[in-house]
Amino acid sequence: MTRATTTSYKALAALSVGAVALTACSSSSGGGGAASGSKAPLDKVLHLSFLQDPGQPPDPDIYYAGEGLILTTNTYEGLLTYKTGTATPTIEPALATKYTVSADSKTFTFTLRPNVKFHDGTPFTSAAVKASFDRRSAVNQGPAYMVSDVASVTTPDPLTAVITLKHSNSAFLTYLACAYGPKMMSPTGLASNKGKDNDQTYLTTHDLGTGAYTLTEAQVGSKYQLKAFDGYWGAKPYWQTVELPVVTDSSSQQLQFNSGSLAAILHDIPSSAVASYLANKKVSSYTLPSMISEYFYVNPSRGLLKEQTNRTALLKALDVDAIVKQTYFGRGTKAEQVYPANVMPAKYAKQEIPKDTAPLKAIVSAAPAADKAMVVGYDSSQPDSQIVANLVSAQLGALGLTVKVQSFPTSEVFGWVGNPKGAPDMLATPGWPDSPSPYTWGHISFDADGGLNYLHCSSPQATALYAKALQSGSPDDYSAAAAAASATGCWDNMVNITDFMVAQPWLKGVENAHTVSNPNTLILAKLSA
């Protein structure tokens, strides 16, 4: 999963960030907002915002990006979930209270939580599990792969569901617990709003979930609103209404936060503003653990880079410490593993790319002039990647290469997966795995048919090891697969990026409302004042 396109006008916003930063320290009340900077609103209305529209409907079988997760993860629930407030991904019961897994990792039996109601008032039973899995397959959008290997969903009684897979899959439980996994929807609601598109039109502006909040307003491009669900089975949320207007300019968003109109900013705070917020004692800054990585791709079909030794030399020549310091100050660290942070314990899948400029210098000095000109690309919606690309260009320039920095729209970057024509020599772009399984990252990034294998590099050895690891679930197998992928010299997991958020001091529970595998969002029911 790549980070969602957040704004095409971030360059414009960047022009004003300096001016906004000047006002960041002057948190004062007023500004037409509902809340002052120092006092919690008494009406229990939480004012948050989106930076740009989520871009896709808040339909959990379609939504496949970042910022809109606040809608899907607060209105819907799956059978399992991940524990909040910890950097270690830990599966917890959600709508299933317990489960068993067969020895071959093919049959999963779930005992369902009783007395759970959907937002339409109907009870949650095992029929919903089958209906929800069927719908995900029928809609067949990005997250549908998670149920593509399901052979059957049987419902022996209203509170038991048995899911049988065609093949062993050690990652299946992580699919069920992750933010993009199958969510339970009311079978009654699905049937009555099915239309010609499997409820897609209806779920653009409504929800059919069991979550602590229900979607009460969805004006695409303008505003969204959630209201607490009275019939929720869990602890009742403190905030009764959550307003989420769409703000299209980062500097405007910061001004509204600084004046107290917004309770928090949950994502896409520009690098230049991070330092300012970290130094501002009037607001609460949170550097929360995540699985977001700034990844660097090398194109194995271009000039000098066709040779594995040259690719490895190029990666070794990069000063990643400097890149981290200058791009992700306060919210990123140099990555030490092939996979994004927190996917595996730190001792596994170590990334060994020691800094050494000498090999590349030697290669460049002997290379023909035509091979010394390269392009480093970045996703145009990612201003941080632009900084990374600029730094890479400068560093490689000092070693004799002429590296041009070029931006590419998100749709073009994705287009290289099907047609690599026009792809650059190198690419810097952030992303995160759908679930905390190393397979979800390794397969899509390193396998030949991976959806994020933008520059078409692969290793038969790594592919075979991933197939083996998927069945065994062994961390050692995933480490071996990562080592084989890393040996190609095509990838460098450069930076572990944290989820950086800022909030008014009166907003309580932010750390405990954050899930390591769910970027840009919080479980709103865990927030209070």
């Binding site: 997250p143 299209t248 994705f414």
Partner: protein, 331 residues
């Protein structure tokens, strides 16, 4: 008049077909892939192929083009890849916001333009202040005006809201989609005042440039006609200079200013597209800005066609207004 209308209708058809053709050609040669962008990295090859077929992107370009034009004639502009709703539905949702902003901007531009023209023609003392202020505003990029306005009037003075169309939750939902108009129709003066407050900054930001352009043209005509025989006769009859300008000279001079207004409306739309980003104004500028990075061609085409048709319609209205203002002009 009917000949003019027929000619302009023909122009709309020709411009629409030409724009649609250009957009389809650009789509064909573009390396962008909306299907992969829409489905994400984990989508299987079969899901990508199924989606490509469902969207009709696996058909020959010419067939797609003919179908698109045929659909557009019937008001069907296809479905947005991003919002997954019909583009016509999206435009109906987003257009009122842009129309309200553009019309407010136009109103401010015309008032300021006439004011500046009169002030400089009659050499009012206020013109020594008004002129440099407006010139400064007009020579500043629109987005910078917007940001400066937010910093001053929202962040520092707390006079005006920063973003959006309204701060209120219970805004009347129709019938026009223009919040100011709908609020008055529903007798909701609180909503009206709130909407006006939200409009002031963005509308003024897009109005300053056109205001100066209108003022220049109008002033030039006013000064020229002030020296005409009929103005001299009016002066000889004892009329004051303001009365001469308003009662006699203005009507003769308004044609050129109206022409300039028509041209400025087109430029104003360009300004609107940028200013909507700065003020999080949920109009077609924001819609198209979010559609471009994900190669949402139906949405981009819909907005382009709408702006093209809108430009012809506005110029037709300006031509008709010129004829009303000056009977010597035949349409």
């Amino acid at each position: 008049m009917s000949a003019l209308l027929a000619k302009r209708l023909g122009a709309i058809v020709m411009i629409s077909i030409a724009l649609a053709g250009v957009l389809f050609y650009l789509q064909k040669i573009s390396p962008l892939d909306p299907v992969h962008a829409r489905l994400g990295g984990q989508a299987s090859a079969s899901a990508v192929a199924a989606e490509r077929h469902r969207l009709g992107l696996d058909r020959p370009e010419f067939t797609q083009f003919v179908d698109y034009v045929r659909g557009a004639v019937h008001g069907d502009l296809g479905d947005s890849y991003r919002t997954r709703r019909p583009v016509s539905t999206d435009l109906r949702a987003y257009l009122p916001a842009t129309a309200e902003l553009a019309l407010s901007g136009l109103l401010i531009a015309m008032v300021l333009g006439v004011l500046l023209a009169f002030a400089t023609t009659l050499r009012w003392k206020a013109s020594s202040v008004l002129r440099p202020v407006l010139l400064l505003g007009a020579s500043t990029p629109t987005f910078l005006l917007g940001i400066a306005g937010i910093l001053l009037f929202y962040s520092k003075l707390h006079w005006l809201p920063a973003t959006g169309r309204s701060s209120l939750a219970d805004v009347p939902g129709g019938p026009t989609g223009l919040i100011t108009v709908d609020a008055l129709l529903h007798g909701r003066f609180d909503v009206f005042w709130d909407a006006v407050q939200h409009l002031i900054m963005p509308a003024t930001a897009i109005a300053l440039g056109p205001a100066v352009a209108i003022a220049r043209v109008l002033r030039s005509s006013l000064v020229s006609d002030q020296r005409s025989d009929y103005a001299r006769t009016a002066r000889a009859k004892g009329l004051s200079e303001p009365a001469i300008l308003i009662k006699h000279v203005l009507r003769n001079c308004v044609g050129a200013a109206l022409s300039m207004t028509g041209l400025q409306v087109g430029l104003m739309f360009a300004g609107v597209l940028v200013i909507e980003q700065v003020f999080s104004w949920p109009g077609i500028g924001q819609y198209v800005a979010q559609s471009i990075p994900v190669a949402d061609f139906p949405a981009i085409s819909g907005v382009t066609l709408l702006l093209g048709v809108g430009y012809v319609v506005i110029n037709t209205v300006v031509d008709l207004l010129q004829a009303v203002a000056d009977p010597r002009i035949k349409v």
